[in-house]
């Protein structure tokens, strides 16, 4: 629990009910698919059943002839000449000459009902010429692999590289060879992780309306309405400001709803159907086949360690496929891989490889869980070899504030040491373990992010406050922002309303991603509130006829700054607001910036498991998350991020994967066989919130949303070896693989 003893704040750190709770427990909250409009049509998308195929011909005549069909679009309805990421987005939104993965959109129809639209989609005839395909990353990087796209390599890729390598990176410092030479133990292993999906329970849904005049509106479940606006207008050749995007409540995103998929299709269909709004709601199989799972990775890691556990050198080569487009998070995976270790010599090499799979999107600390799986597993294997305690080895090598990071720059304020101390002292470490049971430990990291942020707040006539923010509220950020604004204004939490607004109401905001909402929007909200406070102090000063500098704000009122400023009773926010009409007009505050002072967050997890030796099934007995939050504004929702991250990591470690057949078709596109953890799979998840305040934020906030998913993959692998002696280096560690590994150890 948060350390409350020194909590000098009245509201920050408390656990009030979230403002949108009532709507969400009564079913009134409106998500993407809940929004309808007069004259609305329904859209359906025609998708390629092939992993790689040339599109010879699309015949939409039978579809267009079906009664009730109002519009059909193909790539011909999209502008040409786009380049770079804009072209990638357009190509992914609607296939051009070639279908690049199973599920790639090739056409879309709009009709007067969902059933007619689905029937019409089945009547669109597409002639394909099937091409050779590749889905595994180590196959895709071979020189003789089927070529996904000619000339895909960017300026960083060395000449003569395999054709599907789109990006290359290499960085590091120090003399790794010398470091390996002086080590007592050098170990090099290869680790593989399969692609997984964010798994949000709400499928993508949008309602798009676009007139012939190029003016449009969209209601959509998204993490970032400004990204949706920028990407849709780019892909359709519209002026950015002419499209207004209103975010609905969002049913989970985890990074997967920070980009576009079928949104531009609803706008294109609407324009062709005389401006009638078009609603498109994805099915679960469309979400799994054709949205943005994370990359799959093949990683070689080499570490040199002295007998006492000190690491002398480290090397990592990561190969990742992020679908048929550049964008696999291999750079971020490499940055995070050794981030927890103070190194004098390290080398990172990374390949971003194309394959016939959907265009990957961010998934909670994108890349970092894969890097952690490789490095934290290898460190555990070396501790086992040298009979060293895995926590102590991490403490010995732990980075502190001011140390040089493995990815180059010096660290600002970080709390890894405090996190590891909290793990060492936790009672879970003393829990007894029975037969076939084992304990695993691992640490994880995420930089967190700032990004463009724009917030406006205004004082109402009755002295209550409203805050307009651009970051959709997924995990309770409305409550955290309201707490910070109420604390700053000195008024009650219930007197602050936070609204998530559409793109017409604020300056540009980056999405709710990078664990930035409470940090960046919170900081901007506090700045904006400060702006309004200064205005209220000015109005009180004029009322009292004293100098502005002689007025300060405390406990929700303007007060004389000191004895010689004058004897005036405090002028409350209610009094000031009540007279706003006669003292200069509306009172509001604005703040726009790309905030500096981002605080990174380290975490460490401890997991106890039991393995059924006869079937290989892994049961999670106990799970502990310890993570640095800087300061927990609303501790319940910080704990929620810790528990949610752990649960997704457990699913990724044990049962979640993309299974493609030899024709390159996804075999498990529904929740029956895409196995996310269910309620009966998990124990209660213990959490400890470590608070090493981030000096870059007025309330010490660090982003907490993403680090939690990074330690589970290696922690569970380490626990399985502790329980069975079998070391698995290939995810997921499902029962068939665990049973085979146990039998190999026994043989």
């Amino acid at each position: 629990m948060a350390k409350d003893e020194f909590n000098e704040f009245k509201l920050v750190g408390t656990r009030p009910d979230r403002p949108d709770g009532l709507d969400k427990v009564t079913g009134r909250a409106r998500y993407g698919a809940d929004i309808s409009a007069p004259g609305m049509l329904w859209g359906a998308v025609v998708r390629s059943p092939h992993a790689h195929a040339r599109i010879v011909r699309i015949d939409t005549s039978r579809a267009e002839a079906l009664d009730g069909v109002k519009a059909v679009v193909t790539r011909a309805d999209f502008p040409e000449g786009l380049t770079g990421e804009d072209w990638n987005l357009q190509e992914n939104t609607m296939a051009g000459e070639r279908a690049l993965y199973d599920g790639h959109a090739v056409a879309a129809v709009a009709a007067t009902s969902k059933l007619i639209a689905e029937d019409a989609a089945r009547l669109v005839e597409v002639e394909y010429e099937i091409l050779p395909h590749v889905t595994d990353v180590d196959d895709a990087i071979r020189p003789d692999a089927p070529v996904i796209r000619e000339g895909a390599a960017d300026a960083t890729v060395p000449e003569g590289s395999p054709p599907n390598v789109a990006r290359y990176m290499e960085f590091g410092f120090g003399d790794v060879d010398a470091g390996f030479a002086e080590a007592d133990l050098v170990m090099e292993k290869t680790y593989k992780t399969e692609a997984t999906h964010q798994g949000y329970i709400e499928p993508h849904a949008c309602l798009g309306q676009l007139g012939e005049d190029g003016k449009g509106d969209m209601w959509v479940c998204t993490q970032g309405q400004w990204f949706i606006r920028k990407m849709c207008t780019a892909v359709l050749g519209l002026e950015t400001a002419q499209l207004r995007v209103t975010p609905s409540e969002i049913g989970g995103g985890f990074g997967g709803k920070t980009t576009i998929f079928m949104e531009p299709l609803s706008l294109a269909l609407s324009r062709k159907a005389g401006g009638r709004p078009v609603k498109i709601v994805m099915s679960r199989s469309e979400v799994l086949r054709a949205t943005g799972p994370t990359a799959s990775a093949s990683m070689d890691v080499k570490i040199g360690m002295k007998k006492d556990g000190a690491i002398t050198a480290a090397r990592a080569e990561f190969r990742m496929q992020g679908g048929a487009f550049p964008g696999a998070p291999v750079d971020m995976a490499l940055y995070c891989a050794f981030a927890g270790y103070k190194l004098s010599a390290v080398q990172h090499i990374g390949y971003d490889v194309l394959a016939n799979r959907p265009k990957c999107a961010a998934y909670r600390a994108p890349g970092s869980p894969m890097g952690a799986f490789a490095v934290e597993s290898l460190v555990d294997e070396m501790c086992r070899e040298l009979a060293l305690d895995p926590i102590e080895v991490r403490q010995k090598n732990a980075v502190k504030t001011g140390d040089k990071a493995s990815y180059g720059p010096k660290f600002g304020s970080i709390g890894l040491v405090e996190v590891l101390d909290a793990v060492k002292d936790h009672p879970n470490l003393a829990a007894p373990l029975g037969p076939n049971q084992g304990r695993g430990v691992a640490a994880g990291y995420w930089f967190n992010h700032n990004g463009e942020t724009s917030v406006s707040m205004a004082i109402s006539e009755d002295g209550t406050a409203q805050v307009s923010v651009g970051t959709p509220d997924i995990g309770g950020s409305r409550a955290s922002i309201a707490l910070m604004v109420a604390e700053t204004l000195g008024i009650s939490y219930d007197d602050v309303r936070v609204n998530v607004v559409e793109t017409g109401a604020l300056g540009v905001n980056e999405p709710t991603h990078g664990s930035r909402a409470t940090f960046a929007t919170g900081k901007a909200a506090v700045e904006a509130t400060g702006h309004a406070i200064r205005e209220m102090c000015r109005r009180a000063a004029r009322e009292w006829g004293i100098d502005e500098e002689a007025v300060e704000w405390a406990d929700g009122a303007a007060q004389p700054a000191g004895p010689n400023a004058g004897k005036f009773p405090p002028m409350t926010i209610k009094e000031i607001a009540g007279k706003m009409g006669g003292t200069g007009g509306p009172i509001s505050g604005h703040h726009e910036s790309v905030p500096d002072g981002v605080g990174a967050s380290f975490g460490a997890h401890v997991v106890d498991i039991e393995v059924d030796p006869e079937t290989g099934r892994v049961t999670i007995l106990r799970y502990l998350v310890v993570q640095d939050a800087g300061r927990a504004i609303h501790p319940s929702y910080v704990e929620g991020q810790y528990q949610g991250g752990a649960a997704q990591g457990i699913g990724w470690a044990l049962n979640e994967e993309y299974i493609y057949d030899d024709m390159g078709r996804l075999q498990n596109p529904i929740f029956l066989d895409y196995r996310v953890p269910v309620a009966s799979d998990l124990p209660m998840i213990d959490t400890v919130i470590v608070e090493v305040p981030n000096p870059g934020h007025p309330y010490g906030v660090r982003g907490v949303g993403e680090t939690g998913i990074t330690p589970p993959l290696p922690a569970i692998a380490n626990a399985i070896e502790a329980a069975t002696g079998a070391r698995l280096r290939d995810l997921p560690m499902n029962p068939p693989k665990v049973l085979a590994a146990i039998k190999a150890v026994k043989a």
Binding site: T26, I201, E249, I250, F671, P677, M684
Partner: protein, 160 residues
Amino acid sequence: MSKIHVTTKVNGDAVEFLADPRETLLDCLRDHVGLTGSKEGCGTGDCGACSVTLDGTLVCSCLVLGVEAEGRDIATIEGMSDGHDLHPLQRKFIEHAALQCGFCTPGILVAAKALLEENPDPTEEEVRYWLAGNLCRCTGYDKIVRAVLDAAAEMRKEAA
């Protein structure tokens, strides 16, 4: 395509709509009756976000046809609180922060209500296995189970 006239009861109100036989009860509740509280997360009975009760039995409304609802008694999330005072489960979910995005919450609340009507004093494991068909991707289930157990305790105290 010939639609079928369906008369049924939803949350105690008499309701009529025209349904194509292929439309699920979930589609009909959302698109014809205007109750969007039940959600589609999968369309295959694997996620539970569309949970309703049909004549008192907990079911996935995506795996029932609209035309099968003729003459039945359906209860959805919108019928869980009477007037303005919430069911104890609804209150406890807010109090325990047992939801983040909230998309699975309606389905879980309807399922948990059905559980407590059948088993007023469930163990943690009984709650978890009863809710195994209600997927949540945000919370890791911890606070959901605690909220259900807390609501059960409060309801037992009231009943005593």
